[in-house]
Structures are given as structure tokens and as C-alpha cells.
């Protein structure tokens, strides 16, 4: 069974044409991988479908803008994967 990171990294690689080996759990989607906001929408679309969830981009953006979270909390891939795991657990609860 693929880990969340395996799925996320594959989606990013396919969506943004970034070699899979360049993508690590420590990668920052913007600073390290150069993913722009529109590419990120494509990635979220694919992840929503893969995991059967709705990644709450609007509330994440609000939390960052209000200083309640840092950009790294969502854009460093290991953190993004942790958020996805939480959403999957919540969905299945």
C-alpha cells in the first residue's frame, strides 16, 4: 500500500513535471519545487480525487493570513501529508 507521501509526490511529479527524485518529505512546494498557485490548484484537485477528501484551501489561507499558521505548515510536503492523513481519518470517522 502506498504511503500518503508516495501518492502526493507522484501527483506533484505528474502535474508539475518535476522529477520524482527531486521531491522529498522536506521539500517546500513553493520555495524548493517552484509550484505556483495555479499548479497547486491542479495538485489539490488530484489529491481531493485520490483521497476522497476536500482539502480546505480557503481556511488554510485564512489561517496563514491571520498568523495562526505558517506557510510551512501546509507547503512542506511532510506537513501537507500529515494534514491529508488527518482529513482522511476525519472522513472515515
Amino acid at each position: 500500500m502506498s504511503s500518503t507521501f508516495d501518492v502526493v509526490s507522484k501527483v506533484i511529479s505528474e502535474t508539475s513535471e518535476i522529477p520524482l527524485e527531486q521531491i522529498t518529505p522536506e521539500s517546500h512546494a513553493i520555495d524548493d519545487l517552484g509550484i505556483d498557485s495555479l499548479d497547486f490548484l491542479d495538485i489539490v484537485f488530484a489529491l481531493d480525487k485520490k483521497f476522497g477528501i476536500k482539502i480546505p484551501l480557503e481556511s488554510w489561507t485564512e489561517e496563514v493570513n491571520e498568523g495562526r499558521a505558517s506557510v510551512d505548515d501546509y507547503f512542506v510536503l511532510k506537513n501537507l501529508c500529515a494534514r491529508i492523513d488527518e482529513l482522511v481519518v476525519a472522513k472515515n470517522a
Partner: protein
Amino acid sequence: MRLEYFDIIDSVDVFDLAARHVETSSTVPAESTVFEGHFPGYPVLPGVLLLEMMNHTSGYLLLGMHDFGKLPFFAGAKKVKIRNFVAPGMVLKSICDLVHDGSGFCITRNEIRVDGKLVADAELTMMVMDFPSTELPALVRERARQHGVALGLVT
């Protein structure tokens, strides 16, 4: 269809929010300054304006999904195919279905048909934002009424 005013849609014919499905129609005008350049002596509706019609139809779907409380805008297009020339006088039917309802964005699947024949199709990424002015919501609602949207059913 009044191309010079970007008033692309003549009417909203189907506004089925439960099914996440909207259909609009529009008649390509017999004359327009657009046709003076595209092309002299051979008027063809530019493909980007077919895309714009899909954008407006998708926009109505998103407006409805957000109770006319958010402004939709066009963020991207994929799988765009312009399959046939569209000439003055043709009646276009634009058909939009929701593919994905994301957080702050939607993906829609769109077709434009003439007499049932597919002339263009695309997948659009649409985003929503708060209305940038206090006047705009009322203007959008008024335009929707002019296009035949039964706003009483929306709220």
C-alpha cells in the same frame, strides 16, 4: 451576443443547481467589429470567444452554487478543442457540468454545440472571490435576471 460588451450569453436555459448543470444559449451576431479583422470577407467567431462563453456559463453555475454571494473568475483551461468554424447567425448552446467542487475553486466540463453538433469543448478551472465592490452583486443579479435565471429559486 454583444461581443463588444463581452455580453456573450443571450439566455440561461437550464439552471439545475441540484444536478450542478447549466445550459446557456446565444446567437452569433450578423455583424460585429470583431469580424472586420477575423477575417476580412470571411467572418469567423474567434475560438477564444467560445472559451469565453464556456467561462460565462461556468460562472453562472458557480454563482448559483454560492447563492450569488461570490464572484467567479476564470483561472485556467485544459483539454481545449475548437472543432469547427462558428459563423454569424449560428445559435450556440453552451453546456456546463461540475467535475469537482474544491475549496475556493471548481473544475467544470464544458461543451458548445450548434444544432446538436459539438463545435468546442474544454475543462475549466474557476475560482471564487468576494465581490470587489458593493455595487457589483446587484449588477450581477440584474444581469442574471435579464438572462432568465429565476433568482427566487437560488436563495
